[in-house]
Symmetry: C2
Subunit: 243 residues, 2 copies
DNA sequence: CGATATATTGACAGGAGTCAAAGAGGGTGG
DNA sequence: CCACCCTCTTTGACTCCTGTCAATATATCG
């Protein structure tokens, strides 16, 4: 698979880019790098001079409160450029860490800047990506502030399923996602113990399951209903540019 | 005061723009509009063709869960362009509402697009603004997921103070901010009753106070300490581009 | 000055956290 | 190939932060 394949898939899922621009993208010089799981890609305080495309595997971004409580603020799947912001924000305000073995594509800031200057449409596509990401952050704020633990969990998992589906990484109702209950807790603002209780309840109801690095949305319609999930905030091309 | 005065102040606080670019900004055609408090500027589902600069007054962005629980995802102060995203995201995924009488500066999408095309540096400055906003969203996720109610409150208010200070809208330890306890609850994921309890505790400790449309950070150092506040995530120019 | 929104109080309930221990699962090395 | 270890998951008892409900006080405004 070409290293930019997932990136192109992603951009096609939620943006409009011409063939010419997609080709320009595919021509970017990229340095491929394999990293194990639980590896810091960039850390809070860093001043990176490159961005990374997540080609294979998964990553999370997290912050830690002064009291030492960890909060995962986003999960990343193949096709994401999780630290694109470093192009314009000098200092990292959070950590970016793999949660599985991963293949990264490293792109120098200078290369991206030249690309954006030459093709403003590509710059806009990436800008749009960062705005969609901000929209997902808003939904997470809603999730944490306004939904009780079970719905919060269901919402997170249904969201992941939709994002995975958008880049073709789901198979019927199952998708790879190597996350521990403890990490789910860090993302949902819950303790591992409570995550476990919630998951068992959903297993019993045959709604969804998280096991062995795989997430199963056993009853998609019911899960969407349970979570109160509405995909508008993902700004998929089919919604934002109805044909 | 010129209608773009606050915008320029804001951009100077956290970005680097040349005098030439600032002048280009000040030349944008803007339609001034006065709106009362509690007025929807744009609503979820809208497809706006203009963006609004908040010149005077305050606004909030909010979402509502399927269960009907409201969550404020951001507060906006003069100098903000709270719906800049509508330039690239077709559909609004949340509401934007005034929380005080406000003066808006309406800017047509077409005008902004032309400006960005002519001056890529301005486009980048606005892109940077949207990335800083995303950084603030991340901090809110941390706030909601990882901090107990009192610290959560303190963090929100200290953040607001810093943002107000960055555009010169604070006077010693007091700043205007017309927010009800109920709205604070909507932003913090707390009930109005609990907001009240937390505020009374802070009043008693002479740390901070929210009263009569004004926020007082009586003991700034102690409040920063209490909140575990670190301003890196605001990406002020002094931090991101150390001189 | 009444009417409506906002703030305050108190009693009680419940969802989620804490603590601690026991199982399960997956590698690894002898 | 199995014992061992380490991480992750599961359970149970108990606690406590925050929510709920309901009433009262206080502001604000026409």
């Amino acid at each position: 698979m070409k290293s930019t394949e997932m990136l192109v898939r992603r951009l096609r899922a939620d943006t409009r880019l011409s063939f010419e621009h997609l080709s320009a993208l595919e021509a970017i010089p990229i340095v491929i790098k394999q990293v194990p799981e639980d590896t810091a890609i960039v850390k809070e305080g860093d001043r990176p001079h490159q961005c990374c495309l997540l080609i294979e595997g998964f990553a999370s971004r997290s912050k830690v409160s002064a009291a030492g409580v960890k909060q995962i603020v986003s999960f990343h799947i193949p096709g994401d450029v999780p630290d694109l912001q470093s192009l314009f924000l000098g200092v990292m305000d959070h950590d970016l860490t793999t949660i599985s073995p991963a293949t990264l594509g490293l792109m120098q800031h200078s290369v991206l800047e030249a690309l954006f200057e030459k093709h403003p449409a590509i710059a806009r596509a990436f800008w749009r990506e960062t705005l969609i990401e901000a929209s997902i952050f808003r939904e997470w704020i809603l999730n944490l502030g306004a939904r009780p633990a079970p719905q919060r969990m269901a919402h997170l998992l249904v969201e992941l399923r939709e994002r995975m589906a958008a880049v073709g990484l789901t198979e019927s109702d199952v998708f790879d996602f190597p996350v521990t209950q403890s990490e789910l807790g860090d993302a949902l603002g819950l303790t591992p113990v409570h995550v476990n209780r919630v998951l068992q309840e959903y297993r019993a109801r045959k709604l969804l399951d998280v096991r062995k690095n795989k997430v199963t949305i056993a009853d998609h319609d019911a899960a969407v209903q349970e979570a109160g999930f509405d995909d508008v905030y993902l700004h998929l091309a089919r919604n934002d540019f109805p044909s």
